[in-house]
Symmetry: C2
Subunit: 230 residues, 2 copies
DNA sequence: CGGTGTGAAGCCTTTCACAGCA
DNA sequence: TGCTGTGAAAGGCTTCACACCG
């Protein structure tokens, strides 16, 4: 591995997690601007469109390198290219869905994946009744075929769409098959070894968070409220 | 408003957002422990089960008040009650889904909502072909009936499950109907007035974040970017 | 000029470490 | 003794403000 390449890898590790989570947002914003024929943008414009402070935009982009021009702004296409590269979106990335229930169905039918360069290469389930069925143009196969689905696709992403009770074994199966980036919709915390990234989306949990903020609008609670509250 | 009162109000709001977002996680953890018949827990145990540092658990819980017993731990049931109250989960909360497509279907069929005290009171769509259909035991009604659905249920939560193009108007319709806590699955940033809380779950965006981390496992790629995948 | 790139300040969150109490 | 509750330290993120440069 050459000096140059190593340094870039190391640099990449220093991109703060929060920044990484905002990059796709900027990317979407830039693509929308590009579609409007806009070729140059300022951090101010990007920030406005993405709902983010301009200084934060500049700081975030500076982690990727100095791609702007002082006094002018950023070249939209150039920035799109650099960000796509940084996010590893230069190629189609394979996605495997574990769990062919309601959510698995909805996900494999979701058109947004294809549109953004993710290819659903398979959906697996343990239920023999579901195996063989077709969902969103993909055939449901047995859990055992999971390793085969991703064998030829390093850097694949797994999606867990099982009930909570099956989530840990779904994650384990994905990791065993060589998948180390996982999006889980199952409630509960999955245990994984180092080097595996799991992002979790728990729908009921999101609603509970919203409930906290919705509470402001409840009529007086039947239970006694702490007097200092609101 | 006097200084003192303002200070108290500010203090109350000062349950940090990150803490609020962890409370439901603790709650789930505690409910699971309660189901196992465990009546007392230490911050260490909760942390272990929730995948969180014990000190953080104590700090977070301390924002709700001092409900623990030194040398002993926390009474599980008492903590569950206090947290439920804090999260406004003392009653069933109404949920309205906007958009009866794939995702809307999956959501209204999702059993996890009921199980955690959220009642899907309606699902609306602008497509006349979809109106009248039944999904998950709920009839799809016209967008216009949205205000009626939540009129009797202050503190309701709205879920946006529309395509991106309809997201802003869906949000506007929800806000106009009096909903001020919204979970959106649509890509893009929705504009809302102050006092409205929007949480966003963008599936493709989640995958792009994972793609960044998956890139470590790609074979060496400094290859030129193919713009067509975007 | 105008807008980037970036040290430095400020703020928020996490973690430490221990006093205090059952 | 054991574990909570919490000041204080450490770390990380955001925001400011301005040097710098096209």
């Amino acid at each position: 591995m050459g000096e140059e390449q190593r340094r870039r890898l190391d640099d990449r590790q220093h991109v703060p997690e929060v920044t990484v989570s905002r990059l796709p947002l900027y990317l979407q914003t830039l693509l929308a601007l590009a579609a409007q024929g806009i070729r140059t943008v300022s951090s101010e414009q990007v920030g406005q469109a993405a709902g983010v402070n301009a200084a934060k935009v500049r700081k975030d982009l500076s982690y990727l390198g100095s791609y702007g021009t002082r006094g002018v702004g950023y070249d939209v296409q150039h920035l799109v290219d650099e960000m796509s590269r940084e996010l590893g979106l230069g190629r189609d990335r394979a996605v495997v869905i574990v769990g062919a229930g309601n959510l698995g169905h909805a996900l494999s039918n979701y058109r947004g994946f294809d549109a953004r360069g993710f290819e659903v290469v398979g959906i697996v389930d343990i239920d023999p009744d579901k195996v063989g069925g077709e969902v969103g143009g993909v055939t449901v196969s047995d859990l055992a075929s999971l390793p085969g689905l991703v064998a030829q696709r390093p850097g694949s992403i797994g999606i867990v769409a099982t009930p909570a009770s099956a989530a840990q074994s779904a994650v384990d199966a994905l990791v065993a098959a060589g998948v180390s980036s996982i999006l889980s919709f199952a409630p509960g915390t999955a245990m994984v070894s180092d080097g595996v990234t799991v992002r979790q989306v728990d729908l009921a949990l999101e609603l509970q968070i919203l409930s906290f903020y919705a509470r402001r609008f409840d009529e007086t609670d039947d239970r006694a409220l702490d007097p200092t509250v609101l």
